[in-house]
């Protein structure tokens, strides 16, 4: 093995790969189980976008908070939310992260700083500003990251939040995961400006771009922004171009995509393949080491599905619990 040319040590690289692979396996499995009819409702898969969540979350600790989107499984897994709890939640079971009350779009784990996936597009932006205000109020050095897609980028509350974060100098990073499709509508149809990055100037905050298929590009760019925010430098906007392997939701026929688009992207723009090629070609990690992680992750996901299926449903007598905090 040769010298490590990367900004992350080998243990870190293995951890990042495990995160990305766990997200991918989790989503691929949900795709299958949804098609079989085992999973109901709305499920929005993050497969293809793993490098963004992972590249960012490698910089964070449990004190740092994130506010996610409807497409939130990847953010949850990389922030450390238990995979068994997540799978059980999506299966609507009592053992789920949220006792089966929230489902795919509302997975949260406050102990990990994960303030929730969110079914309302753009809603995480003001919430993370609040977390940023709390961190600043306490002076604990924590930062907040919010994610939104190229569609939600046009929501008023996202833009209001960027302004608030700027005027109050909050330690918050706004991450636009631009996968080119706002649900089924092309990014260019709904957004006049050529690059979301340009919007940073409109709010007086830095706007930067990173290739969302490259873990290392994301990791390095966001590392600077997070360091700056921790040191009191204020908010920033990061746009990452990513690939959404699946549709907007499971069941989406994706008629708006070009013929062969998904196949091309899976072959040529898969962030996991790109990561594997870089670390193996540099001679830092071997294929065998990564294959071993693949095997462990497959087992983990299989086990999480089995335990979710076996877990009890929430008790009907608890229908009304947790509407209010009671004393």
């Amino acid at each position: 093995m040769s010298d490590n040319p990367f900004p992350v040590d080998k243990a870190g690289l293995l951890e990042a790969y495990r995160m990305m692979k766990t997200i991918r396996e989790f989503e691929e499995r949900l795709h299958i189980d949804f098609a079989k009819g085992d999973i109901p409702g709305f499920v929005h898969l993050y497969a293809g976008e793993e490098a963004v969540a992972t590249g960012i979350m490698m910089h964070l600790n449990d004190r740092d908070r994130i506010a996610s989107t409807h497409r939130g499984h990847g953010h949850c897994i990389s922030k450390g939310v238990d995979v068994h709890g997540m799978m059980a939640e999506i299966y609507g079971k009592e053992t789920g992260s949220c006792l089966g009350r929230g489902g795919s779009m509302h997975i949260a784990d406050l102990s990990k700083g994960m303030m929730g996936a969110n079914g309302i597009l753009g809603a995480g932006a003001p919430l993370i500003c609040g977390a940023g205000l709390a961190a600043k109020f306490r002076g604990d050095g924590g930062v907040g990251i919010t994610f939104f897609g190229d569609g939600a980028a046009n929501q008023g509350m996202v833009l209001e939040s960027m302004n608030l974060a700027a005027v109050w100098n909050l330690p918050v990073i706004f991450v636009c995961e631009n996968n080119g499709y706002a649900e089924a509508t092309s990014r260019d149809y709904g957004t006049a400006v050529k690059s979301y990055v340009d919007r940073g100037a409109g709010f007086g905050i830095p706007g930067v771009h990173a290739d969302g298929t490259d873990f290392f590009a994301v990791y390095e760019v966001v590392g600077e922004l997070i360091k700056r925010a921790r040191e009191g430098g204020g908010p920033a906007l990061l746009e990452c171009e990513v690939i959404r392997f699946f549709g907007h939701f499971e069941g989406d026929a994706q008629t708006y995509k070009a013929k062969g688009e998904n196949e091309y992207n899976r072959a040529n723009r898969d962030c996991l393949k790109i990561f594997r090629a870089k670390v193996t070609e540099a001679g830092v990690i071997s294929d065998a080491e990564l294959d071993a992680i693949d095997g462990e992750v497959a087992e983990l996901i299989e086990d999480s599905v089995a335990s979710a299926k076996a877990a009890p449903l929430p008790s009907p007598k608890d229908l009304m619990s947790n509407v209010y905090v009671s004393y």
Partner: protein, 462 residues
């Protein structure tokens, strides 16, 4: 009946002004909408329009008078057929009249003119008084009571902070946060940009992250911008997260009609918020309840919608002088005991309810007036117990009738006191119309004392 014409406010924050000129003189007959006088401040001049018809009986404040306080009677208007030379309005401060929290001060009611059922039982539910008998009382405006409540809770808990438009440097659009910036600094008294959805969501996030925000909406009309974060984030997240993520937050500000500010600034949102599981909805009338309930709301672990009323801000009530006066959320109170008919209201509706009870007393009808104080969770027990004794119920609110608070009370009584009802539950509400600007139409769109009296008498078949 003669009525006082009051010194109006040019703006929500105006406290006094100059009565520049009278355009009518004593003895002139007045029609609704007539320009009576001109008032001015250092910023603007405004015409005073007549709301009621009648004769200008007496000018109390001569033209050219400076520093006339808002709401000072400036003239007396005699009603139709009334002798204008003898018209007078003896009591210009009706809001100070209500019994204070049931601690004595029973209103004197005339004997009923008609025989009443013998079974006028005493209340079946007894509740501990909210403060000891003999407690010293201090006359306090609702405005001061709200400010005191926030200041006390901010002293008690470092994580409590207040944010909103103009709350800090400007001391509040309605001066509710007066003095807080000076005591607590701009770290805890935070001016926001005009960005309701953004700052409401930000406050929800701060509450989820462990702080205790008090969000002031300049008026609740502007909270419509923030409805998504209030409902989808603040109210639902505790449940959706399986109990992990609570949201200890208070959204407060003036709600309902003010005066002459038209439809977009004059709406009662009580019923809207009260529809939502996960929210508490509080709407006090008196200064004591405003203080005790706001303190409870700030301490509560749940999101509380705290609906104030601009017209009540300047009214004075007795507030108990107690170091830490708390009024429990979810409990109404009997503001005036009676046995013939139950009138249920809250917030400014209590003004109509209590005046109507006084009017009814003159006819020998003893109305029991319940101040709900909290709309969600509603104190159904108190209403049901009262109606079981009176057999009749009138609800009073400024909001619209459909799916309103009165509709909810009527349903509760159908479900729990059907066999005790001697008449259909009657609702007195705002009319089904966006609030008109013209003074005479605005008055028609709102409930009034006469409607409450008529509804009570109809329920009594008299």
């Amino acid at each position: 009946m003669a009525t006082n014409i009051l010194m109006p406010a040019l703006s929500p924050t105006m406290e006094q002004g100059k009565l520049a000129k009278w355009l009518k003189k004593e003895g002139d007959s007045i029609r609704s909408g007539d320009v009576l006088a001109e008032i001015e401040t250092d910023k603007a001049t405004m015409e005073v329009e007549a709301v009621d018809e009648g004769t200008l009986a007496k000018i109390l404040i001569p033209a050219g008078s400076d520093n006339v306080a808002v709401n000072t009677p400036i003239a007396i208007l005699a009603g139709e057929g009334e002798d204008a030379t003898k018209a007078s309005v003896p009591d210009a401060a009706p809001a100070a009249a209500p019994a204070s929290n049931g601690a004595g001060a029973e209103p004197q009611a005339a004997k009923p003119a008609t025989p009443q059922p013998a079974a006028a039982a005493a209340p079946a539910i007894s509740r501990a008084p909210e403060f000891p008998e003999g407690t010293e009382m201090v006359s306090t405006t609702v405005r001061e009571a709200l400010r005191d409540a926030m200041a006390e809770e901010m002293r008690r808990d470092e994580s409590v902070f207040v944010m909103g438009e103009e709350v800090a440097e400007y001391q509040g659009a309605y001066k509710i946060t007066q003095g807080l910036l000076q005591e607590f600094s701009d770290r805890r008294v935070v001016d926001t940009p005009i960005t309701e959805h953004g700052f409401a969501g930000l406050a929800v996030g701060a509450a989820m992250a462990g702080l205790r925000p008090i969000v002031e909406f300049m008026t609740f009309n502007f909270a419509m911008q923030a409805m998504d974060q209030i409902i989808n984030s603040a109210a639902k997240t505790l449940y959706m997260s399986g109990g992990q993520m609570g949201c200890p937050i208070v959204f407060r500000g003036p709600n309902g009609a003010a005066a002459r500010v038209a439809a977009q600034h004059s709406q009662d949102y009580t019923a809207w918020f009260s529809h939502v599981p996960g929210l508490y909805v509080v709407a006090p009338y008196s200064a004591a309840d405003a203080k005790g309930l706001l303190k409870s709301a700030i301490r509560d672990a749940n999101p509380v919608i705290f609906l104030e009323n601009e017209i009540l801000y300047g009214q004075s009530f007795d507030v108990p002088k107690i170091d830490d006066f708390l009024v429990p959320i979810g409990k109404g109170r009997i503001a005036r005991p009676g046995k013939d008919v139950t009138i249920v209201s809250f917030s400014i509706g209590m003004v109509y309810a209590l005046k109507a009870a006084e009017e009814l007393a003159k006819d020998g009808i003893e109305a029991e007036v319940i101040d709900l104080r909290t709309i969600r969770p509603m104190d159904a027990e108190l209403i049901i117990d009262s109606v079981k004794r009176t057999g009749r119920c009138v609800t009073v609110e400024e909001g619209w009738p459909q799916s309103g608070v009165g509709a909810e009370i009527a349903s509760i009584l159908m479900e729990h006191a059907f066999d005790y009802l001697d008449a259909p539950v009657a609702r007195v509400t705002g009319k089904n119309v966006p609030m008109p600007y013209a003074a005479n139409l605005e008055k028609l769109a709102l409930p009034n004392v006469g409607e409450v009296v008529a509804a009570a008498k109809a329920a009594l078949y008299v």
